[in-house]
């Protein structure tokens, strides 16, 4: 029963149950399917709000904890719990899913039941990843989530969907296989040192690994997560996946899935292997900065709107990595906030591209132009989202970007200064696209009859706009909840080098005896 009473556990389970429940509805009653999916995702969001209201912002411990023995002989527990970082990620997920459902109403016409089921299963997987406190459970959710995403791209995607889905799947799998091997190694090493099996993430933080082992294990984790972020040069699956995915798929992919990479560094890779992480950190931050400049410049070269937004994600996540690898309170909390911001602004950008695609069935920038005349509402929303994406002060993007830049400058002055180039370049490509799509004369006759945003479209765009402005003006409620978790992360990254394994074993044996 506790599984259903604990709001965190319920947030994980409810979408999965709802995903199963949708099969009770006949496959051809489209209206009922849509209504059900929307109601279910809204219910999940409502449940997740309990996490926000019940969260103690001052406490530096995992909250809403749940710990059920699962395979006790191997120390595997169904253990959940969240800190401020996972709280924001979970809320971002439960917030974006209803919007994605709403955005799919007209877009998805085939096998709708399976589609909405996939979305709900995906949601369960994503929330599970952010909530898991057990490595085994984490890995399970991590892999489980791939399957519905694979189907979303592969079945409901564009013309090259099979190529893109396969590429996405293999790329991610290649990373996670290494991670699985590393997980088993860590657990085995812990068993060798402590004499007991455990997959509990916090228990493994006090690791007993030699520096060399840490090096290889961190490399394995880091690679798996680097693919997900995506960090340059592991990013080329992203543009393909985005271009082929349906609108909702892109929103979830950019909004949530990319965050799992950074989340993996924050929750696992760095705290599990702190010494190796500190050695690698400047390089990872450097790759982040390369991503900022490279992603921006390549985004500038794109003619397909979705591709451009995809490359802009490479740039934005580069900023996040720079912040996360600085181990400085302002920079890391900025990075976490920027993860949320990117989910909001890039999610909104994909939704806006979807709005155009549903009307004209093209994503090429040159097929548009002059839309401000026929779609003034769209033009206004697009403007605000563009400005959020380029980090205009007063909107959400600025807060995250500024915190990352100011904070990481204190650690990596050169990298942070180079990262400022992103401020210029983002304006170059985003305003360039905006101008070509929205300004100028209405060149194409097909565009003269386009309709402005309808009520349903306003309904899924307006909530994003509210948060884009709210976080820009009043970010503290979000930052306050993140800071204790950020402090923990920084403390863990500064753990002393582990003494040789034999000594550790003795010490821990002594503890057990007591």
């Amino acid at each position: 029963m506790e599984l259903l009473i604990n709001p965190l556990s319920l947030t994980v389970l409810l979408p999965a149950i709802a995903g199963l429940g949708i099969f009770a509805i006949p496959r051809d009653s489209a209206a009922a399917l849509k209504g059900y999916a929307l109601a279910a995702s809204l219910a999940v969001f409502a449940v997740s709000l309990r996490l926000w209201t019940g969260f103690d912002a001052a406490a530096a411990v995992m909250q809403f904890g749940l710990d059920k023995p699962w395979l006790p002989s191997y120390g595997i527990h169904y253990a959940l719990g969240i800190d401020g970082i996972s709280l924001l990620m979970i809320l971002l997920t439960t917030f974006l899913v209803p919007l994605s459902v709403l955005a799919s109403f007209n877009y998805i016409k085939e096998s709708q039941r399976a589609y909405y089921a996939c979305l709900l299963f995906l949601e369960a997987g994503m929330v599970g990843v952010f909530a898991a406190l057990d490595l085994f459970v984490f890995y399970l959710f991590w892999e489980a989530m791939l399957i519905p995403m694979y189907f979303l791209i592969g079945i409901w995607g564009g013309p090259r969907r099979v190529y893109a889905a396969l590429k996405f799947f293999i790329y991610t799998m290649a990373g996670s296989v290494l991670m699985l091997a590393a997980i088993l190694w860590v657990v085995a090493a812990h068993h060798a040192a402590a004499g007991a099996w455990t997959f509990s993430i916090p228990a493994l933080y006090a690791g007993a690994l030699t520096e060399q082992a840490q090096f290889w294990l961190f490399a394995a984790f880091a690679l798996a997560f680097a693919v997900k972020v995506p960090l340059f040069p592991f990013h080329t699956w992203l543009p393909d996946a985005h271009v082929e995915a349906p609108t909702a798929g892109s929103v979830i992919l950019a909004g949530v899935l990319l965050k799992m990479g950074v989340y993996g560094y924050l929750r696992l890779a760095v705290p599990l292997f702190p010494q190796a992480a500190v050695t690698f950190a400047p390089w990872l931050a450097g790759l982040g900065v390369v991503g900022i400049i490279y992603g921006s410049l390549v985004a500038w070269s794109q003619r397909d709107m979705k591709k451009m937004v995809a490359y802009s994600s490479v740039a934005h996540l580069g900023t996040v990595m720079l912040g996360a690898m600085a181990f400085e309170p302002a920079a890391v909390s900025g990075a976490v906030l920027q993860m949320v911001n990117h989910g909001l602004s890039t999610g909104a950008l994909f939704l806006l591209v979807g709005v155009l695609y549903e009307r004209r069935h093209t994503r090429l920038i040159e097929d548009y132009g002059g839309l401000a005349k026929v779609m003034p509402g769209f033009a206004a929303v697009f403007m605000i989202v563009t400005l959020s994406s380029v980090g205009l002060p007063g909107l959400n993007g600025f807060i995250g970007e500024a915190l990352v830049l100011f904070g990481s400058f204190r650690v990596y002055p050169w990298l942070a200064s180079a990262a400022v180039a992103g401020v210029i370049l983002s304006a170059v490509y985003m305003l360039g696209m905006y101008q070509q799509v929205v300004f100028g004369p209405l060149r194409h006759t097909e565009n003269k009859i386009l309709k402005d945003l309808d009520l349903r479209e306003w309904l899924y765009l307006a909530p994003l706009l509210v948060f884009i402005v709210l976080i820009g003006v009043w970010p503290n409620p979000f930052l306050r909840r993140v800071l204790p978790a950020v402090d923990n992360y920084i403390t863990l990254s500064r753990q002393q080098p582990a003494p040789p394994p034999a000594l550790v074993k003795l010490a821990l044996d002594g503890e057990e005896a007591r």
Binding site: L405, F406, R410, V420, N476
Partner: protein, 631 residues
């Protein structure tokens, strides 16, 4: 915390914000033109009234304690970084706020007439109000981060208003150019702030408000980057931001193109207020610049060069707004010269008088353009004196003011700047300043003569503008004429209580003044002579190369395009995207791996051909090999 808590301050800002929201959200459909224009103008009037109230309360305080503060809430707080949404009202902020709200109000009123019947009427007023909001945030900010909000925000509004008639791709492009050029400067500004905050945080100072910065600025002295002292580097980077916003060399290129926006916008944003933000920033952070004499030298020289360079370009332009745009760049150069010479009060003085006469000249140009149904070519004007008598008189006031005729506002501020520059910058910089004064007199006189005097060259009929336009111009004309005399001593005592006017002049002051006045009159007389059709043609024929060079603005835009923009775009398209991304990473490494595994699979599949004899052979060979190893 120092200063007096003063909750009225926020209303100076909130009134324009409310105006923006009303016009922006309700728009033409619900408000209509009349109400929209009225709300827009009233919002600014309310803001002006609150600014005036705060000003009078400020005056009632003892001179050394004139600081009002209003902290709304803690804006960003993240451990080692904390910024309040806080505003301050001190003499400098008061002067700026009064100029901004006052001139803005007049230009809003003017706009109700100028924009009549435009399809985007309400959108226009929404943007204009938003601009005033951000500009006030910039000048009232109590820390550099809130200042940066205004700093970028005015850039946004400038972008939106330059591209206001977005259907014309050229205008939209001009807007984008302005935003991006500004962002280049802003990047420098941001790095400057990052260094500043980094050093202070390393010393345990987290707060960023100006009082804290002033008290701790000395901490910077202990740091070096690349062999440059930290104060110098920070000041140079912040000044780089100012060259973007205030259109100085090398980032001035956006301002002339910004004339694509509606003319009242050029008057307000691209002459009177936004472009002066850099000058204001220097005055606001003067305590920092005082620690960096090297940086001040750079400011002085850049200002001097820009003033001269832009004035030269202004000599040969045919578009009435372009002449004024280059004139603005040049006059801003004067302000930076003053700041570079350490005479911040003088730069603010010129900022004020320039706001009056340049806004007046732009509004006059707008009135001419309005009266001639959109004509902007000076060579197609002429003889407008008869058809537009009011505009003629009002522009004449602006012309004489900028040309430096004694008694008018421009004379006082420019003269003071030249005096200070002579004192602190040396004779050469001063000489260039005087030469520029002569050029200024020349190009403004040329503009005036070509537009209003002599015979009519163009076809078509011009008409005088409505009262809604001429009345605000009259107010500005009064300020342009009398403002200098009125402000010259009062402003200094107010800005700097320790300043004593009678002691402030060098012994050469009188001689310097005579020379600069003479230079001005020389410029005026030469312009009258050279604009006669005969001499003008003869001059052009005598120096065809030079004329082409100046007329084409020394090809700076083309050089930037050739050196920076096009190579970068080509690099992104061909090298990064074509070669690295699609070719190397995705083609060779990713899909190459996929193809290699596929090929390996095919190869191994051949081995599994189902023929037992092959299997037996391989098996035997394997056994033999193993035996060989073992033995």
């Amino acid at each position: 915390m120092e200063g007096n808590y003063y909750p009225l301050l926020k209303w100076i800002l909130l009134a324009p914000l409310a105006g923006f929201l009303l016009n922006g959200l309700l728009g033409k459909k619900f408000l209509g033109e009349r109400a929209g224009g009225l709300i827009g103008s009233l919002a600014i009037l309310v803001s002006f009234i609150f600014a005036a109230l705060s000003f009078s309360d400020l005056l009632n305080l003892p001179a050394e304690n004139r600081l009002l503060r209003d902290t709304l809430f803690n804006w960003i707080s993240a451990g080692t970084f904390s910024v309040d949404a806080a505003f301050r009202f001190d003499p400098l902020a008061a002067v700026m706020a009064l100029i901004v709200t006052g001139v803005s109000f007049l230009i809003h009123v003017y706009s109700t007439g100028y924009m009549k019947g435009d399809a985007g009427y309400n959108r226009y007023f929404a943007y204009l109000n938003l601009f005033v909001f951000f500009m006030l945030a910039l000048v009232l900010a109590d820390n550099p981060l809130v200042m940066f909000v205004g700093w970028e925000g005015v850039g946004l509004c400038s972008y939106l208003l330059i591209g206001f008639w977005y259907e014309d791709p050229e205008k939209a492009t001009a807007g984008k150019k302005a935003f991006i050029t500004n962002r280049v400067g802003d990047a420098g500004f941001l790095i400057g702030l990052m260094i500043l905050s980094g050093i202070l945080a390393a010393n345990g100072v987290i707060a960023m408000d100006f009082e804290t910065l002033r008290a701790n600025a000395h901490l910077l002295g202990a740091y070096n980057f690349l062999g440059i002292a930290a104060p110098t580097l920070v000041c140079l980077l912040l000044f780089f931001g100012a060259t973007g916003k205030s259109a100085q060399f090398p980032l001035y290129v956006w301002l002339p193109d910004a004339m694509a926006g509606p003319t009242p916008v050029s008057a307000l944003i691209h002459a009177a207020t936004m472009v002066t933000a850099g000058v204001y920033m220097l005055a606001r952070l003067s305590f920092l610049y005082e620690l960096a004499p090297r940086a001040l030298e750079v400011v002085l020289l850049v200002g001097c060069f820009t003033a001269f360079f832009a004035a030269v370009i202004g000599l040969a332009q045919r578009d009435i707004k372009k002449v004024l745009a280059y004139s603005t760049v040049s006059q801003l150069g004067y302000m930076f010269m003053a700041a570079g010479a350490g005479a911040y009060a003088a730069s603010v003085f010129h900022l004020a008088t320039h706001a009056f006469f340049k806004a007046l000249l732009f509004l006059g140009a707008g009135s001419v353009i309005h009266g001639m149904s959109g004509e902007q070519d000076l060579l197609k004007m002429g003889g407008l004196k008869k058809e537009m008598p009011f505009t003629f008189l009002l522009v004449a006031a602006g012309w004489l003011a900028i040309a430096g005729v004694p008694g008018l506002s421009g004379f006082y501020s420019k003269d003071l700047i030249l005096e200070k520059v002579f004192e602190h910058g040396g004779a050469f910089v001063w000489g260039v300043g005087v030469l520029t004064a002569a050029l200024t007199a020349f190009y403004t006189t040329r503009l005036f003569v070509l537009a209003f005097l002599r015979s009519k060259r163009g076809t078509g009929h011009a008409h005088e503008s409505p009262l809604s336009m001429t009345l605000p111009m009259t107010a500005l004309a009064l300020l342009a004429v009398g403002g200098g005399l009125f402000l010259k001593d009062r402003l200094f005592v107010f800005l700097d209580p320790s300043f004593v006017p009678s002691h402030g002049h060098t012994p050469e002051a009188l001689r310097l003044m005579v020379i600069s006045v003479a230079a001005g009159f020389t410029g005026i007389i030469t312009a009258f002579l050279l604009t006669l059709p005969g001499p003008a043609a003869a001059l052009k024929a005598a120096l065809p190369r030079a004329h082409a060079l100046v007329y084409n603005k020394f090809y700076v835009d083309e050089i930037y395009g050739f050196l920076v923009l096009r190579p970068l775009k080509r690099f992104s398209d061909r090298v990064l995207f074509g070669l690295v991304d699609a070719g190397l990473i995705d083609g060779l490494l990713v899909n190459g791996t996929a193809r290699a595994s596929y090929a390996a699979g095919r190869l191994l599949a051949k081995a599994q051909n189902g023929r037992l004899d092959t299997y037996a052979l391989v098996f035997a060979a394997g056994v033999a090999l193993m035996l060989y190893w073992i033995i």
